[in-house]
């Protein structure tokens, strides 16, 4: 039963609606939870920022509902704040689901007073000196930018008189305290049923963090990795089956309407300037600024107020991998708690003595260079196969490379790792070496006039095709006390070829490559001849 009473110059009392036959029931809290965390598709390989987790998770909750016969609204309270309501699935219902809803408004002083507008409330006005409270019944007339209420005396504004004034409500007007999803169901008989609610929620992410230690002889590598998963939601998931999914999947969902976390009631009044001061205006302005800040970023505000963000949990259990369509699913074998505003680490892998080759490499553009020196890049190369003590999918993430220095191991470089399937080549970026410099010099260019062909385009302008050859050299110097393997790679423009060289030339990715060994404390020079077929405009 609902009654509308309102005022507009005179009292008009509303017509009673027909009795509402819908029962209201809250589902039991979840008795089983599963959380599958997906990596943000667009995040680079850096660390997770708990304040800004762009990934998401699939949450699955098993709950018991007890519903009477007829139409019932079942509320699932305490879902993640970042819920994408359109993704919710309720399964296990024996039919009769009419609709499902998510209300964005949560119970707060602001929403409560807005929901109570037009309804009867009790106003409590107390005398500061005597402590005597006066209770008056009235209605809230409007709550736009300040509250106007009506009593038998007339219209007044809330908290403008200087008396302590308060509103007492009789109900919470159906507003939920925590983010809530509800379904409307119809059954012929009362029912107790276990149902599964699953939904996608924002505010999760995970990262793979590899750490690799190179052996003192530089021939093998020990590789370990952690999965770090973060939950920035205000809701925790105790004792949950926890999975993470590796791979990049499509996301199309637009912005999710943030849940309105509500705000205080701002009792804004008429101008209250006095002859003696101006400070009160400032207070009012501060209050309004606070309010607009709260409206602009309710989620951010919640994040800040939650405090203690950087708690990191490390568990000892090792993760298990399985195939999920074209993605990789990693399962934490034991139930674990994905707490609110927490990041948690689980061991992903530990592999010892992976054989690696240390390679130095540089890209040169022999046609464009004028003899500048560049430093070589260092790569560790291996293959993701069982024989190399690997042979497992490596999800994308960040790798920190360490080298032994006496007793310690020190950080050498950090590099991104891409999603690497089994049997793929693995190249670990180990930074650059100042000991290995590369200088490329273009020595000479010749045009063979005998091959020149001229095509007249318009009178006075013609196109001339000529064969051009050039010679050049690249010097690689090695200041290390051991010989190094070096891959010299060329970037040649369209139609330019290496026709002769004093070292064996191969092809990689369609471009020339020289696989060389540079002697210890020595220099190696590669000479080559390039040929091309050029077209130029000629104006005689």
């Amino acid at each position: 039963m609902r009654r509308h009473c309102w005022w507009l110059g005179l009292v008009v009392c509303g017509v009673a609606h027909a009795a509402d036959p819908v029962h209201e029931v809250a589902a039991d809290p979840p008795n089983d939870l599963a959380v599958t965390v997906y990596r943000s598709p667009y995040r680079s390989a850096g660390s997770l920022e708990l304040d800004d987790l762009e990934g998401f998770a699939l949450i699955r909750e098993t709950r018991v509902i007890r519903i009477p016969a007829g139409e019932t609204r079942v509320r699932f309270e305490g879902v993640a704040d970042g819920i994408e309501p359109v993704s919710a699935i309720v399964s296990g219902l024996p039919g009769g689901l009419i609709e499902r809803n998510r209300d964005a408004a949560l119970l707060s002083p602001e929403t409560l007073i807005a929901a109570t507008a037009g309804k009867a409330v009790t106003l409590v006005r107390s005398n500061r000196r005597t402590g005597k409270a006066e209770r008056v019944s009235g209605t809230i007339t409007a709550s736009n930018d300040g509250v106007v209420f009506h009593t038998a005396d007339g219209f007044e504004a809330l908290q403008c008189s200087g008396f302590p004034e308060d509103v007492e409500f009789t109900s919470t007007a159906g507003l939920a305290a925590a983010p809530t999803l509800s379904i409307l169901v119809r059954t012929a008989a009362p029912l107790t049923q276990e149902v599964t609610l699953s939904y996608l929620a924002r505010g999760f992410d995970w990262a793979a963090d590899y750490s690799a230690t190179l052996s003192p002889d530089g021939k093998t590598l020990d590789l370990g990795a952690w999965v770090t998963l973060g939950n920035s939601n205000g809701i925790g998931f105790p004792s949950a089956h926890t999975q993470v999914v590796a791979g990049k999947l499509n996301r199309e969902t637009d912005e999710v309407d943030p849940i309105d976390l509500g705000g205080p009631v701002i009792a804004r009044c008429w101008p209250q300037g006095k002859t003696s001061d101006v400070a009160i205006l400032q207070i009012a302005r501060d209050a309004s600024e606070r309010r607009s800040a709260a409206l602009a970023a309710p989620m951010a505000l919640a994040a800040k107020s939650a405090g203690a963000l950087e708690e990191i949990m490390v568990t000892g259990s090792r993760i298990q991998q399985e195939q999920l369509g074209d993605l990789k699913l990693y399962r934490v074998p034991e139930r674990t708690t994905v707490a609110s505003r927490q990041s948690k680490q689980v061991r992903l892998l530990d592999r010892q003595a992976i054989p690696v080759r240390i390679l130095y490499t540089a890209f040169v553009s022999p046609e464009e260079t004028e003899g500048q020196s560049q430093i070589a890049k260092v790569l560790l190369r291996t293959r993701n196969v069982k024989e190399s003590h690997l042979g497992l999918p490596l999800p994308s993430g960040r790798l920190s490379l360490f080298e032994h220095h006496g007793e310690d191991s020190l950080l050498v470089n950090e590099a991104p790792v891409r999603d690497t399937a089994v049997n793929e080549e693995v190249e670990i970026d180990a930074g650059t070496s100042n000991d290995v410099h590369v200088v490329t010099v273009a020595e000479e260019t010749n045009i063979d006039e005998g091959t020149a062909k001229t095509i007249s385009l318009v009178p006075g302008i013609s196109l001339r095709n000529v064969a051009e050859t050039g010679t050049g050299r690249t010097e690689i110097s090695n200041a290390r006390s051991a010989p190094i393997e070096f891959e010299l790679r060329m970037r040649l423009p369209d139609g330019v070829r290496v026709i002769r060289a004093d070292h064996r030339v191969g092809t990689k990715n369609g471009q020339p490559i020289f696989r060389l060994t540079v002697p210890a404390n020595g220099t190696l020079t590669v000479r080559y001849q390039l040929a091309s077929f050029k077209t130029e405009l000629v104006r005689p």
Binding site: H4, E99, K132, C160, F163, Q243, R268, G325
Partner: protein
């Protein structure tokens, strides 16, 4: 919609306004795809003869007032206004300038209440009052003073209010229909597709998702959803949009359907009426089921599209695709309104896990859809430009190779596309027969063995 209707006689007539009965209400809401809804509110309206004002509170706060129409017999509209002047304490005081208010003071020592009348002189910065024969600033002494207003001015509203001045040729009750267009109500479809890898089948559930940001709740409304976006003429200034080249997005619709189905239509739009009346609360996301099909054959495939002269230093993942029919035979058997299809697949424990999503446009029945859900971890392609040779001034020969690798324990078929073959480009030589999807695109259907690789080579002759 809790539209409260109050009929007020015009002040000139000096008669008392009366409330219309809301017992026989029928609100119907028709929602289009492009943030537009038509609200029709049918009710009994009790009016007097002559000129008077009818007020509709709690219409959508985002109403397009120029689209309002009020239809009732023996009633003609004189003018209509949409009042946004909301009732706030500040406005209440401002409108009281020149008028009498009541002040209630309480003696802080003995609690004795005294009342006096005051006239509001100004509200600029502070409230200046005339009490008896002296002028005072409200609460200048800091002591509590209650201010009581006898009434709220007519033009201050607790809610945005539509007021219509009508001229009635007779008094009495009649049925009136108020209709208007408003943005803020929208709908789209959301689909849940569970793919069964062993059976190569999908189960698809379709949900209609309604959203309401109009600031108003529509109670017990008959709801009709229109799969279509009527053209809306925009107000304001229009600037020509700059056109930049963008690569063609992947086309989800492989073949447009030609089946008609049994859905209701409005012109060329499909209609999705909700079976029951429903309450669309403000700020609510509401979902109602409209499709539940099980065991539709679906095909899991891979696709990689290489741009012209694309070389990858490291192998790049192929796209995972799922294709199925929306036809009545071996298909979903329905028109699909535009929305997002979310794919799930069961993990080894049997729990469904999310594996990606894809957006679809309005899709006629009988279409073939091929939706991509993301990158395949284990199926990769490494395209390489092996050699570029200048054949003559305007002719180039390009030797390409595509190495396809598969780390899955089963063979896969990858649809390999090479685009950019414009003008009279020709394939001189290829290791596998291609089909020319269009002048622009060559397509190879490449089988890659389990845990193996396949290399496709092709030589193109082009003008660039």
């Amino acid at each position: 919609m809790r539209t409260r209707v109050i009929v007020m006689a015009s002040a000139l007539l000096g008669t008392v306004p009366v409330a219309a009965s809301a017992a026989d209400r029928a609100v119907s809401v028709t929602i289009y795809n492009n943030d537009l809804a038509l609200i029709q509110d049918k009710r009994d309206l009790q009016v007097q003869g002559g000129r008077q004002r009818v007020e509709f509170q709690d219409v959508s706060a985002r109403i397009r007032p120029e689209t309002v129409s009020l239809a009732a017999s023996d009633l003609s509209i004189v003018e209509q206004n949409f009042d946004f002047d909301l009732l706030t304490p500040g406005k209440l005081m401002e409108k009281a300038v020149g008028q009498e208010i009541t002040l209630v003071r309480v003696n802080p020592l003995n609690g004795v209440e005294t009342r006096e009348q005051a006239q509001v002189l100004a509200t600029n910065g502070g409230v200046v009052l005339k009490i008896g024969d002296h002028i005072e600033v409200l609460r200048d002494d800091g002591l509590p003073v209650r201010v009581i207003f006898a009434k709220v001015p007519d033009n201050l509203r607790a809610h945005p209010t539509l007021s219509v001045t009508v001229n009635s040729t007779r008094a009495g009750t009649r049925t009136a229909t108020l209709s208007y267009l408003t943005p803020g109500l929208g709908w789209k479809a959301d689909y849940v597709a569970l793919y069964d890898e062993k059976e190569s089948k999908i189960d698809v559930q379709g949900w209609i998702t309604l959203t309401n940001s109009t600031g108003t709740t529509y109670d017990n409304a008959q709801t009709l959803l229109v799969a279509g976006a009527p053209n809306q003429v925009e107000g304001g200034n229009q600037y020509p949009q700059q056109q930049f080249y963008r690569p063609q997005p992947r086309n989800n619709l492989q073949q447009a359907g030609t089946e008609s189905g049994t859905r209701e239509r409005l012109g060329d739009y499909y209609l999705y009426p909700l079976a029951e009346r429903t309450t669309i609360a403000n700020q609510q996301t509401k979902q109602v089921s409209f499709l539940d099909v099980r065991g539709v054959p679906a095909e899991h495939g891979y696709e990689y599209r290489n741009r012209w002269l694309g070389t990858q230093e490291k192998p790049a993942s192929a796209r995972t695709t799922y294709s199925f029919s929306t036809g009545s035979k071996a298909g979903l058997g329905d028109q699909l309104p535009a929305g997002i299809l979310r794919f799930y697949m069961k993990d080894q424990r049997g729990d469904p896990q999310f594996i990606g999503e894809s957006r679809i446009d309005h899709t006629p029945m009988g279409s073939r859809l091929s939706l991509d859900t993301g990158d395949a971890f284990d199926v990769k392609v490494k395209p390489t430009v092996l050699k570029r040779t200048r054949l003559s001034t305007f002719d180039w020969q390009s030797d390409m190779s595509y190495e396809l690798t598969n780390a899955l324990p089963r063979p896969v078929v990858v649809k390999l596309l090479q685009d950019g073959l414009i003008a009279d480009s020709r394939i001189l030589k290829e290791s596998l027969k291609s089909t020319r999807r269009s002048a622009d695109v060559a397509e190879w259907s490449v089988t890659v063995p389990a845990n193996g690789s396949t290399t496709v080579t092709a030589t193109f002759e082009t003008r660039f």
